[in-house]
Symmetry: C2
DNA sequence: GGCATACTAGAGAGAGGTCTCTAATAAAAA
DNA sequence: TTTTTATTAGAGACCTCTCTCTAGTATGCC
């Protein structure tokens, strides 16, 4: 099968995410990645045809991992209690994955998707529509049972945890345990369950 | 008094904010700003000693303007009703100032404050402590009257509107009117006033 | 008018990043 | 062993950006 890889794709992406967490997208350069991994630039270009492909891969792998876990947390037929759990889980995930949380929190636009290849753009689109339908379905289901509006339920489950986590990520701090508590309380208040 | 300025400081900052809204901090280069204003690079460097000073000015002017208006909205002795107004006002401000909202939403770290001059860093520090004490005082006052915790009140007044606005900013869309409604309802629910 | 001043104007050096290209190398397959 | 192939290795052309430096120009004041 040819020579065994010293720098495999996953390790390079891990390093790229690390660079991103430290200095934002502008710190994720092919040259910086090569330095950080002590790899020659050729090895980087062997995996990623250009910088846009690297940035796309950082975004896509991170979001896909996050959503895959989120799906299992939400389960098949989410109710308000499950919605609160999901909100708290988002906070806990950010605490456990500090660097990837920075990626998520920066949003796709930080990775210059306008420069991505057609294939990467397509993957991004499918991820987006899949996520949107998942969230819409979940929000509707929870909102019906909690007797509130769907946009309120959606906020409580997804925007609320990200908003709580955001100041800590921006400051480069870790996420305190109290953030999970706060999200649990607020989500409970919005979703109307006993606090 | 010397020659009249063709490119004055405020106009350059407006242009820089425009560039930021379109392409993030990496798009705010001295060269790009010069191109965008059809000014020679010398004129840019006449106003801003280096790129870090430009980025600092973009951040500082934007936040100082926002906070100055916020102070008047909050008034002297904020109560829960005033807190809800402030939350909705944040959303309306973002709608009315799309480009500056992008700056605010990106956070200071997007402007590489580690490279700022000592003077700019100092201004940033004072702004921060002033804002923090303002928010803490407001949150305490509102929380006492609403009989909730201070961190919950702070969330409802400041993090909540930013979180609601965030997805729209990230997508490059304008802020819909419905966002103001949503924030009003959620803030009312958290602050415990009649919805 | 003449002078001082504040600004415009833009060339150019130097640094760093992107990407291409060729050669070397290690491991699996024949 | 020989061949094939995936990968490492890194030199180098090209581009863009930052920042410096010198010269030119318009305006207010004496």
């Amino acid at each position: 099968m040819g020579r065994r890889a010293v720098h495999d794709r996953e390790a390079l992406l891990d390093a790229a995410i690390e660079l991103f967490a430290r200095g934002g997208a502008q710190a994720v350069t092919m040259a910086a990645l090569a330095r950080h991994c002590a790899a020659p630039s050729g090895s980087i270009y062997h995996r990623f045809p250009d910088r846009a492909a690297l940035l796309a891969a950082v975004w896509l792998r991170t979001t896909e991992r996050f959503v895959a876990e989120l799906v299992t947390v939400l389960g098949d037929t989410p109710d308000p209690a499950r919605g609160i759990e999901a909100a708290v889980w988002c906070v806990d995930w950010c605490r456990a994955h500090a660097a990837e949380a920075q990626v998520l929190h920066a949003g796709a636009t930080a990775f210059a998707p306008e420069g991505w290849s057609a294939a990467d753009r397509h993957n991004w689109d499918s991820d987006n529509t899949a996520l949107r339908t998942l969230l819409a379905r979940t929000a509707r289901s929870v909102a019906r049972q909690a007797e509130i509006r769907a946009d309120e339920a959606a906020f409580a489950m997804f925007d609320l945890p990200l908003a709580t986590v955001r100041p800590h990520l921006a400051a480069g701090r870790g996420i305190p345990e109290s953030a999970s508590d706060l999200v649990g309380r607020l989500a409970a208040r919005i979703l109307g369950s006993p606090a």
